[in-house]
């Protein structure tokens, strides 16, 4: 790295540290002192016993709601407060808890199917993944665990797919399960998070393959990216579903029997020659072309 770039990089990081530090110093002993005195707490009288939750709740997104009090979710707690019996207070959980959450969150576009969706049928409800009282959540959206860690605890098969050599980089930097999946609904059984126009999430990053093209291939006609690619990870280069490119192609493009889309007779290509073993050496525009019916450019 040239010296100039070192200097610039160092300057950026120093600014970052200084800026964040200013915010930290401005807060002073904020962690130790709740923003409001106990006597004025909107969480009285619950904070008499649950002082830890009351102290941290102002940082919770739910605290933004002017009408948000303990009773908003837990109902009338006067008997519980008087007698201290846990059975006398409503603790939203399971399906009933999800209903309560959906009372406010249900109108968001992402919540297309929550009450009886795939997660709900597996007895996975809001509180399974979200920590409502968490003062310093490990992640955005009050998630209980680091990005994606909750998902893979129930989906270890999918986690192991990311351990294959040709895989999306899950977890350590930018990508998370919910980059492509919508756990609250989504499209199809995989609960895919579609783009604004309903496209598969692959096209959010691989936009140059979106088209529409005059000469479409699979996407936009039938099937989708997953017809040829493993979305999480694969043993095969380019996350293909097959080890050899020619087999990916010929399994659809073989004229047996007639009647299937794309099952035209293949050209007289001699697959014994290396130049024909990789179909994409010539059919380079394999995702679609505007100028070549045979996807040659």
């Amino acid at each position: 790295m040239p010296a100039g770039r070192w200097t610039r990089a160092a300057a950026v990081w120093l600014r970052l540290l200084a800026g964040a530090g200013a915010a930290a110093l401005a807060g002073g002993a904020a962690l130790a002192d709740p923003p409001a005195a106990k006597s004025a707490s909107p969480y009285a009288p619950c904070d008499t016993c649950h002082d830890d939750i009351a102290a941290s709740f102002p940082a919770n997104p739910h605290a933004r709601l002017a009408a948000a009090t303990c009773a908003s979710c837990h109902g009338d707690g006067s008997k519980h407060a008087a007698e201290g019996d846990k059975a006398l207070i409503k603790v939203p959980s399971g399906a009933a808890g999800a209903k309560l959450c959906l009372g406010c969150h249900g109108g968001q576009p992402a919540f297309t199917r929550t009450g009886t969706g795939a997660h709900a049928t597996a007895s996975v409800f809001c509180a399974s993944c979200h920590s409502i009282h968490s003062p310093a959540p490990a992640n955005v959206a009050l998630l209980r665990a680091e990005r994606g860690a909750e998902c893979v605890s129930c989906h270890p098969v999918q986690r192991r797919e990311f351990d294959k050599p040709f895989a999306h980089h899950l977890g350590r930097s930018g990508l998370a399960c919910y980059s492509c999946h919508n756990p609250h609904g989504g499209t199809g059984r995989a609960s895919l998070k579609t783009g604004t126009a309903g496209e598969v999430p692959c096209l959010t990053c691989h936009g140059e393959k979106r088209g529409p093209f005059v000469f479409q291939h699979v996407t936009g006609m039938t099937g989708d990216c997953m017809s040829c690619h493993e979305p999480h990870g694969s043993n095969n280069p380019k996350r293909l579903t097959r080890a050899r490119v020619d087999q990916v192609c010929l399994e659809c493009h073989s004229a047996l029997p007639a009647g299937n889309l794309g099952a035209g007779p293949p050209s007289f290509h001699n697959l014994l020659l290396p130049r024909y073993q990789n179909c994409t050496v010539c059919h380079v525009a394999i995702h679609g072309s505007n100028s070549s019916p045979m996807l040659l450019k």
Partner: protein, 645 residues
């Protein structure tokens, strides 16, 4: 490149100063950053294709939550960032708002996409020449911003903006003159999307309607790669050597269209809820392409040798698309839930390409009749696709620890394709009408007894017709999951999955199966000591009859995977020191035999209440059983400082 590094840092600085000036209270702050060193030996291209870490400064994690007194510019601010610098991907998120006034969310994602693989598009692999002829080294930048005004009010206006950009060089090939030539390429694609809408929040009914305007611009530039003029095929064609002396092509694709989306959710009573969504888009694109080349070439299409080609293409596509879905969820009696849904999607697609070509310096195969030759090709394509889905589900949760559910669905697909659109391999009337109906039954059960949670589900799909040859006619899947927790001491999670599919139609004989099973054990013997063990097996086999192109004989296309993964890790905390180490081995003895060994060791020391330091070592060892030239070893060493409040 410089502004890409600087923008997130400046944004953080600005926000932090705003927080300070607002008298804000930081309720959560952590920053982990440092420097990492790399030691890579072996195939560096393969390393970058798989991992693509770099040596240098790295932001491991930044998280900042700020609560401010009400009445200021904001009363809540949350910033998260990770991965910028030496890591291949980075993400920045900002969520800031003031109760009742606004809610602003900004996210930025940056990724480096590198690919230079030995086996991909490589006709010279047997000569030891790597990588293949298709490579790329691109940078992706995605920015999303959404602002909601007056959150919590009955009417909440929404505005948003997104920008997706991918840019970078690569290499590719071009088939012209009965040969393939290596090209250098450069892609720059930008999509802008602005949106505005409104949310409606009534008691028991919520809806959102958003109108978006999207525009994209894509530029691809190609030129003959140095040394690429000889092509991949050294043999003369019709007795004449083929070569390319010069090549330049520039493609410009543009498109702009509107996207209308809507969603709603409502409750009639505590026992009845309904949801729905709608998307309508008029996808459009246009292309202008200019290509100029010269050399000594032959064209079977015009049955002549030629010395140059100038080609202009103008193309236009239109693809109006809409999809809608509605769903009702009911709980007729306590513990019994029922839901039903309907979804329909429709796409009309029309494409037109006008390709004008001027072949210069042509002669016939006998070397006679010299002249220039112009051709004009008009090609139109069209398809119409409809899909309708009905589904219904019943579930019960009033059987003690047992929960049962059953689901039935029917999917009708209709596809009408003009012959042109289907002629990817060889021209020849491959269009037509294709219908497929899938009937799906699925059911499952979950049971929770003390610390044991069991889940079993089954799915059976049946489709009497197939559209493409790899469509299944029957697909069956079984999944079993057991999760046993013994207090804080032990957690054991076991999973098993069985998948069988086929299409027994004569001449297809498609058959595939997959098996996965695995077990993970978390043992916390002491509060300070944790151990994790994992083991998994997976196996996949598929076969489908294909036509061998060179002699038109039939043979099965076989594909197998036979994999195993073992892993172990442990963590130990003693005073201010935390130690963590682990190892895993992944092997596949299927078609592409390979092994991956990973190991890591982290040592974390709390220097003060707010400051810590971490030493990191990661090892990654890739071995290809058949192609030793792919192998590499990579070690990563990092020193990180963590500051947290």
């Amino acid at each position: 490149m410089r502004h890409r590094h600087r923008t997130p840092a400046l944004a953080l600085l600005l926000l932090a100063l705003l927080a300070a000036s607002a008298g804000a209270q930081t309720t959560h702050f952590s920053l982990g950053a440092g420097y990492q060193w790399l030691d890579v030996s072996g195939n560096e291209d393969m390393y970058k294709s798989q991992l693509n870490e770099r040596q240098g400064l790295a932001l491991q994690e930044l998280s900042l939550t700020v609560a401010a007194p009400s009445g200021g510019l904001f009363d809540r601010l949350r910033v998260d960032a990770s991965g910028f610098g030496a890591e291949p991907e980075g993400r920045f998120r900002l969520s800031v708002g003031r109760s009742g006034m606004y809610d602003l969310r900004i996210s930025y994602f940056r990724a480096r996409a590198f690919s230079a693989l030995p086996t991909l598009a490589n006709p010279f692999l047997d000569q030891g020449i790597v990588p293949g002829q298709h490579t790329q080294n691109r940078v992706l930048d995605n920015l999303d911003m959404d602002l909601q005004l007056f959150p919590g009010a009955v009417i909440t206006p929404l505005v948003g903006y997104s920008r997706y950009h991918v840019d970078g060089p690569g290499t590719t090939t071009y088939h012209v003159g009965e040969n393939e030539y290596r090209l250098d390429s450069h892609l720059a694609e930008t999509t802008h999307e602005a949106r505005a809408g409104v949310g409606i929040h009534l008691d028991g009914f919520q809806a959102t309607v958003v109108e978006a305007w999207r525009a994209f611009h894509d530029t691809d530039a190609y030129a003959l790669a140095p040394g690429g003029g000889a092509g991949n095929n050294p043999a003369p064609v019709l007795g004449q050597d083929q070569s390319l002396d010069s090549f330049n092509r520039r493609d410009r694709s543009d498109g702009s269209y509107a996207v209308t989306t809507g969603s709603f959710a409502g409750t009639v009573s505590d026992r009845l809820r309904f949801t729905g969504s709608f998307v309508k888009t008029d996808f459009q694109s246009s292309l202008a392409e200019d290509e100029q080349l010269s050399g000594s070439l032959v064209s079977f299409a015009i049955a002549r040798f030629f010395g140059g080609l100038g080609q202009q293409t103008h193309a236009r596509t239109s693809a109006p698309d809409w999809r809608g879905a509605a769903r009702v969820e009911a709980e007729p009696v306590d513990g019994l839930e029922a839901s039903g849904g309907y979804a329909r999607s429709h796409r009309d697609f029309d494409g037109l390409a006008l390709i004008s070509s001027l072949y210069t310096g042509t002669v016939n195969y006998a070397g006679l009749d010299p002249r220039n030759l112009a051709t004009l090709l008009t090609s139109t394509t069209a398809l119409e696709r409809n899909q309708t889905t009905w589904d219904g589900m019943l579930s019960t949760r009033n059987l003690g620890p047992l929960r049962l559910w059953a689901d039935v669905a029917r999917v009708d697909e209709e596809l009408t394709v003009t012959p042109d659109a289907a002629e990817i391999v060889v021209p020849g009337g491959q269009g037509g009408r294709f219908d497929r109906t899938i009937r799906r039954w699925s059911a499952g059960a979950t049971a929770t007894v003390d610390g044991l949670k069991l889940a079993l589900d089954w799915k059976d799909d049946h489709a009497p017709d197939s559209i493409v040859r790899t469509d299944y006619r029957d697909l069956k899947r079984w999944r079993l999951r057991a999760d046993w927790t013994a207090g804080k001491l032990l957690r054991v999670v076991g999973t098993a999955e069985k998948l069988d599919g086929d299409n027994p139609a004569e001449g297809i004989d498609y058959d595939f199966r997959a098996r996965h099973w695995g077990v993970d054990v978390d043992l916390t013997a002491l509060e300070a000591l944790g151990v994790r063990l994992g083991y998994a097996k997976f196996k996949a086999d598929s076969a489908v009859t294909i036509v061998v192109p060179q002699n038109f004989t039939l043979e099965p296309s076989l594909y197998t995977e036979d994999g195993e993964e073992k892993s172990a890790s442990a963590s130990y905390k003693i005073g201010p020191v935390s130690l963590e180490g682990g190892w895993s081995r992944f092997t596949n003895s299927g078609d592409l035999g390979l092994s991956l060994d990973r190991a890591f060791a982290h040592c974390d020391v709390e220097l003060t209440a707010a400051l810590g330091a971490t030493l990191v070592f990661d090892r990654y060892r890739y071995r290809d059983d058949l192609l030793a030239i792919s192998n590499f070893d990579a070690n990563r060493y990092a020193f990180l400082l963590r500051w947290h409040e």
